[in-house]
Point group: C2
C-alpha cells in the first residue's frame, strides 16, 4: 500500500479553533480553468474623488458632511445592520423551532486615510500605526458601552469581496452577543485553557516558529503564517509572540511592529499576482464583557479569495457549502510562495 | 421601551440543524447598492456545442469520448478532489496541532440531459424523474463501496457559483468521512432523536405546514420552504412529508412528486428576477455506513446568492466570515415573494 504523503495525497486537516475540518487535494493543482473570470479595475484612482462618500469634505447619503480629516476618520454606518435601541422582549423558555433574540449593537466605518487611492500596503508604517491607535480607541469606547460584549473589527477589500468603495476603509460591528464564529473559537480556546492552563494559540505559534515551513514573515513581536488548517488558498493569520488577549494591551513597540507586519504581509499579497489583492480580514480578541480572558489570544485573520491569478478565484460553493471547505494547494506551498516574495511593492519597483 | 417586532428589529435566529445563529437586519433592506455587479450572459446557447466537454459524442480533456447518451450520463470527474487509492497511514494518537487523516473517495459528474441549453426548470418532469433515478442508483452504488460512508449529491448552477460549464450537470463526491457540515447536522439530528424519539425535521415541517408563512410550494409528498433560520436571501429547503431517511426509500409516486416540486421551485427562482437563477443545491440524507439512521431525514438545500436583481448578489464576507451570517430581508418576506410567483417559466409566457 502507498505510504501517506501529505504533499500528494488527498487528506483532511483539523482546525482546533473552530472544531472543523478542511479537505486538501494537493494532486489537483493542475486542473484547467474554464470558469468565471473576475474583472480587475485598472483605472488609476485619483487622490480625491468628489463622488466618493468617504473622502474628506464630501457629503454622505444622509446629508452629513465628512470633516476635513487628516489621518483616520470614524463614523456610524449610515445603513447599520444593528440598532442601538433597547428592545423589550420576553424570551420563550419552551423548546421551539423558532428560537430568536433581539440583537443590539453599533456599526461604524473607519476610513484609513483621506487619500482615496491608498491601500494598506501602500501606506507608510506611520499611517498604519494611526489606524491601530484608532482600533484601540474604538475597542475601548465600544467595549465600555454596557450592553456591548463583542467588538468585531474587519475590512472587506476589493469589489470581489463585496466592498463597494475603493477608498481605504474598514468596519466595526459591536454587539451584545458573541457572533457564531467567535463563540466557536471562544469555546475551543476555553476548553484548551481549562485543560492545559496555557493558551492554545501561543502553544501553536511556538511549534510553528520551530518548524518555520508555514511562516510567511515575522518580526520581534509578531508572526504571519498560513495556518496548518487554512481554508482559502492564501489564507494567513497574524499572531503576537507575547500572550496578548486584546489590542489595548499592545506596548507602543508592539503597535509599530504590528503596523510593520501588516504592511509586509499585504505587500506580499499584492506582489503575488501583481494586483491589488482582495481579502476580508478581521481581528479576533477577548470579549468586552468585563471579565479577564486568559484563554484568549489576539489574532488577525486574512481570507483572500484569489486562487491562481488576479482574475481566477476559489469558489466555496456546492461541496464546500453542503460538505466541507476544500483546497488544492497545500498550506506549506502557499506559505513558501508568500515567503519568497519581496517586501517592496511591485508598483515601486 | 419598544416592543420586539420580528419584521422590523435586528435579531438573531437559531439554526438547530447546525447549532449556529444568523443575524437578521430587516430594517436595512433599503440600503443603496454601489458594489460589484455580476455579468449575466444573454447569449442564446445552442442545443449542442462542439466545444463542450459534457455534450454527447464530444472528447473530454483526458481523451475519453462521451457516449451518445439520451437521458443522463455519469462519469468519474477527470480532476477529482478525492482519490480511490487506499493509503497506508499511522494515526498520531498524541495531542497535536497538526491533526490530519488521509481521505479516500470517488467524485462523479452527472449530466442531466444531452441538451446543452437546458436547465432543471426548463426540463419536463419526466426528464427530472430520470435524474432522480440516476441519483438513486449512484447513492446505492457508491454507498455500497466498502470504505464509502457518505455520498454528497450537489449542483453548482451559474458562473457566479463557480460552475464552469452551462451544460446542465451536477456532481457527486462520495467519501469515507462525514464532511464537517454533515457531521454537525448528524450530531444535532441524533441528539434530538435520542431526546424525543422523533425526527427533528419531521417535527419542524409539521409546524411550518400549520403556520404556512414560510412555505413556498407543496404537493402530496413534499414541501419547499424558506427555513426560519435561512442565511441566503432566497434560501430554501425541500423536505418530504413522510419520514424518509434516504433517496432510495422514495416510492415511484414520491419520485414524481419530487421531480414536480424541483421544477416548480426552480421555475419560481428563474421568474423572481427573470434570469437563469444561480444556486448551489445539495441533498443531505443518511450516511452509507450500513447502519439504520432513524434520526436522519432526507432534505435538499438551495443556497442562491442573488440579493436584489439578476446582477446584485449578497456577499458573505468580512462580518459573515469572522462573525456570523447576516441577512436583510426576512425569511417570511422571501417565502411570500417566491410563493406569489407563477409556476409558468417566464420564457414560456
Ligand atoms: O468541480 P468544479 O465544477 O470544477 O468546481 C466547482 O465546484 C467544486 C465543488 O463545489 C469547488 O471545489 C470548486 O471551487 C468550484 O469551482
Ligand atoms: O457594509 P457594506 O460594505 O455595505 O457591505 C459589505 O460588508 C458587509 C459586512 O461584511 C456584508 O454584510 C455585505 O454583504 C457586504 O456587501
Amino acid at each position: 500500500m502507498k505510504k501517506f504523503d501529505i504533499n500528494e495525497d488527498p487528506h483532511r486537516r483539523y482546525n482546533p479553533l473552530i472544531n472543523e475540518w478542511v479537505l486538501v487535494s494537493p494532486h489537483r493543482s493542475k486542473r484547467p480553468w474554464q470558469g468565471q473570470n473576475e474583472t480587475i479595475s485598472t483605472i488609476e484612482l485619483p487622490e480625491y474623488d468628489p463622488t466618493c462618500y468617504l473622502c474628506a469634505g464630501n457629503v454622505r447619503a444622509n446629508g452629513e458632511v465628512n470633516p476635513p480629516y487628516e489621518n483616520s476618520f470614524v463614523f456610524e454606518n449610515d445603513f447599520a445592520a444593528l440598532k442601538q435601541e433597547a428592545i423589550d422582549f420576553e424570551e420563550n423558555t419552551e423548546e421551539t423551532f423558532f428560537k430568536t433574540q433581539p440583537e443590539r449593537g453599533i456599526s461604524r466605518v473607519v476610513c484609513f486615510s483621506p487619500k482615496h487611492n491608498l491601500t494598506l500596503p501602500e501606506m507608510a508604517v506611520d499611517g498604519i500605526v494611526n489606524i491601530i491607535h484608532t482600533w484601540q480607541k474604538e475597542y475601548t469606547d465600544l467595549g465600555n458601552v454596557d450592553y456591548i460584549n463583542h467588538v468585531q473589527i474587519f475590512e472587506n477589500k476589493g469589489s470581489v469581496m463585496g466592498c463597494s468603495n475603493p477608498h481605504p476603509h474598514g468596519q466595526i460591528w459591536a454587539q451584545s452577543s458573541l457572533p457564531t464564529e467567535v463563540e466557536k473559537t471562544h469555546n475551543n480556546l476555553k476548553a484548551y485553557f481549562d485543560k492545559h492552563g496555557t493558551n492554545l494559540l501561543q502553544d501553536y505559534l511556538k511549534e510553528e516558529l520551530k518548524l518555520k515551513d508555514r511562516v510567511v514573515v515575522e518580526n520581534d513581536h509578531f508572526a504571519a503564517l498560513v495556518p496548518f488548517w487554512a481554508v482559502w488558498p492564501y489564507e494567513t493569520m497574524i499572531i503576537s509572540k507575547r500572550h496578548i488577549t486584546k489590542i489595548t494591551e499592545f506596548t507602543e513597540d508592539e503597535v509599530t511592529a504590528f503596523a510593520a507586519i501588516l504592511k509586509q504581509l499585504t505587500t506580499r499579497y499584492d506582489n503575488l499576482f501583481e494586483t491589488s489583492f482582495p481579502y476580508s480580514s478581521g481581528i479576533h480578541q477577548a470579549p468586552t464583557d468585563g471579565e479577564a480572558h486568559p484563554e484568549w489570544q489576539f489574532h488577525m485573520h486574512f481570507y483572500p479569495p484569489l486562487l491562481r491569478s488576479a482574475t481566477v478565484k476559489k469558489f466555496m460553493v456546492g461541496y464546500e457549502m453542503m460538505g466541507e471547505s476544500q483546497r488544492d494547494i497545500t498550506a506549506e506551498k502557499s506559505a513558501q510562495m508568500l515567503r519568497d516574495l519581496s517586501d517592496v511593492h511591485y508598483k515601486n519597483k
